[in-house]
């Protein structure tokens, strides 16, 4: 064997030993990743298990349709979940059109300029502002300056502000994911800008947009702090009949029950948490469904 041959073998050996190292790294990271995933899942399971264990026995039709009461066994969450639904629908009606339109404008129409940069940075920052700040804004602006009081409308407007940045950002991300060639193809066939957006870009992006939008709404219905700040009430023995009525929501009811001295109330809180979780799960389910359905339709 000549010198040349030896060198080749050495090189090859080095290559092999390196792959071994890489393989170890690969395996190590795989298990590390698995552990990280499991932490999240296990904690969630423990929480869910605990809530189900405590609350499931309390959950029945009377609880869901009952009015608030000082007796834990008689108390229900009817006004609370109806309030949550009101807030949810109204927030959706207000925030979705504004958020999606703003996202569309920023992504499709807006020309790059210093002003647009400032706007973009601001929106990204707003997504990180603590929710209680939005509550204070809502209290001053909607409840007091606009004299809307502690109404469903004030609550929905405040939560709309809270989720607007998230909707805008996720709309833009979804639009960005649509390849530019689709737009160019559309223009090439003589379509106007609006036609291109309406018939090509939006249908392609809709699954992404709706996923973001519905997840942001799930976040909104879990919020307590901003609603407490704007003056959502704790004891409301009637359901809102118009957008100007006072209201309560599930998270506030849960918060109230958890801090009561009697243990039976914590059972109620657990049962109410199950309902709130179910609403969130249903929402997320709808998001998954829409994404799935629309992804299938997009064929390029």
């Amino acid at each position: 064997m000549g010198k040349k041959g030896k060198g080749k073998i050495k090189k090859r050996l080095k290559y092999f030993s390196n792959t071994r190292v890489y393989e170890y790294q690969d395996q190590a990271f795989k298990y590390f990743g698995l552990c990280c995933t499991l932490i999240g899942v296990v904690v969630l399971m423990l929480l869910l298990g605990d809530v189900l264990y405590r609350g499931l026995s309390r959950l029945d039709w009377d609880f869901i349709m009952g009015l608030p009461s000082r007796r834990a066994a008689k108390a229900g969450i009817y006004t609370a979940w109806v309030g949550t639904l009101w807030i949810m629908v109204l927030t959706a009606v207000i925030a979705f059109p504004i958020g999606i339109s703003a996202g569309l404008y920023l992504e499709e129409y807006n020309k790059k300029s210093r002003l647009s940069n400032i706007i973009e940075i601001n929106i990204a920052n707003l997504a990180g502002v603590p929710s209680i700040i939005y509550g204070l804004l809502g209290l001053e602006l909607f409840a007091r300056a606009l004299k809307l009081g502690e109404s469903v409308l004030t609550g929905a407007l405040t939560l709309s502000l809270l989720i607007l940045p998230i909707i805008i950002v996720s709309t833009r991300e979804a639009l960005k994911a649509v390849p530019y060639s689709i737009r160019e193809g559309s223009y090439a066939l003589g379509a106007s800008k609006w036609q291109t957006i309406w018939y090509q870009v939006l249908p392609a992006a809709v699954s992404g947009i709706f996923t973001g939008v519905i997840l942001s709404l799930s976040r909104a219905i879990g919020e307590t702090a901003p609603l407490i700040v704007i003056g959502a009430l704790t004891f409301v023995p009637f359901v809102p009949e118009s957008v100007m009525d006072s209201f309560t929501v599930l998270p506030i009811q849960i918060f109230n029950w958890v801090s009561r001295p009697q243990k039976e109330f914590s059972e109620n809180a657990a049962a109410a948490i199950i309902i709130l979780l179910s609403i969130t799960f249903i929402m997320n389910g709808i998001a998954v469904y829409i994404r799935h359905k629309w992804q299938k339709k997009v064929k390029w």
């Binding site: 349709m65 709706f210 003056g231 023995p237 801090s259 001295p261």
Partner: protein
């Protein structure tokens, strides 16, 4: 795109039907014969909330068309709304402050001050704590005053024959009326407290903490002790004043009511907007209902009722619409006998 709008409409209509689908339940049960209708808006202390909640619930049975709503913005938050005329009744776990009183007169609001119950503050330790037999107000002050921060850290610093172990303190959070009252009664100045202790607005957290820590000491509302008797040990308090009971006194319904558990028992109040009660018959009848049923409903809500004589005085006070506070010229409610000041 049409499909999106359509599926959106479907989702929307599902929500919409879920509102109207439960129509019949919206209507209050038609039991009462009263013709009263209108709204009664209440906000304020979360301590008083359970009593008002009980009252509102019972009131509804007789007056199904009166919409009573209650918020829990805290005593201070409640008064702020009261001054803005956003609510008709403010609940308070302490009497109105001078600054709040002048705010009401600036806003041309007259109010009627009505005590409705007593609340006791319990000082508790872990059941495994065998050494603490009682505490004097002096000792409590030594533990909780601001100067104690970082200095009083061991049990034997309070009494030399107590163990040489760290003391773990649990108390009310800074926003609560309980914190205001405890500091005022023990340290002598509201909100003056050491800061190095486990603070929570949620008394259940404090119960949890003390019941799992042998060297813990803490305070919170008496109702939370009553509900967790088996997990905690209540400490008798000696205020060294013989005129209201000699020696250390254990908090109980009896000792809070007869004024011997001092200084850690306090009255709870509601403040009624006089104009609202004059113009809105629902509010007038709600407040009457409140006072008339307080004796039973206060017990239901795990607080301690005033004596019959005091309730009578409160009732006359409301009937005569006597405005203003009897506590403005007093430093605090600590040690005040309601029978005397209401006359």
């Amino acid at each position: 795109m049409k499909k999106i709008i359509f599926s959106g409409a479907v989702i929307f209509s599902v929500f919409a039907t879920s509102f109207f689908g439960c129509g019949p339940k919206n209507k209050p049960e038609e039991k009462g014969e009263s013709k009263l209708s209108g709204t009664v808006e209440i906000d304020g202390s979360s301590t008083v909330y359970p009593i008002t909640e009980a009252t509102a619930e019972e009131f509804r049975v007789e007056n199904p068309d009166v919409k009573v709503t209650i918020g829990v913005s805290g005593t201070g938050g409640g008064f702020k709304k009261f001054v803005r005329s956003e609510i008709d009744i403010a609940e308070a776990s302490r009497p109105i402050k001078k600054s709040e009183d002048s705010a009401t007169s600036a806003a041309k609001i007259e109010y009627i001050e009505l005590p409705i119950a007593y609340d006791g503050l319990a000082v508790v330790v872990n059941p495994q704590n065998t050494w603490v037999d009682y505490l004097t107000v002096e000792e409590l002050k030594k533990i909780w005053e601001p100067e104690a921060q970082g200095k009083i850290v061991k049990w034997n610093q309070i009494r030399p024959n107590w163990p040489n172990e760290e003391i773990h303190l649990f108390g009310a959070g800074h926003e609560s009326g309980t914190f205001d009252y405890f500091t005022e009664a023990i340290v002598g100045k509201a909100k003056a407290s050491r800061g190095d202790y486990t603070a929570s607005e949620d008394d259940n957290v404090l119960v949890q903490g003390i019941s799992t820590d042998k060297f813990a000491l803490g305070y919170f509302g008496l109702a939370y002790f009553t509900e967790n008797k088996d997990k905690l040990k209540l400490i008798p308090i000696d205020d060294k004043k013989d005129e209201n009971g000699k020696g250390p006194i254990l908090a109980s319904d009896e000792t809070v009511k007869n004024g011997t558990y001092q200084p850690l028992s306090r009255p709870l109040f509601i403040y009624v907007n006089k104009k609202s009660s004059d113009t809105n018959p629902s509010i007038d009848s709600f407040v009457h209902f409140y006072i008339d049923n307080a004796e039973t409903l206060v017990v239901d809500a795990k607080y301690i009722p005033l004596s019959k004589a005091v309730y009578d005085l409160v009732k006359t006070r409301f009937k005569e619409k006597k405005t203003g506070s009897v506590f403005l010229d007093k430093e605090s409610t600590v040690g005040v006998k309601l029978e005397e000041v209401l006359k």
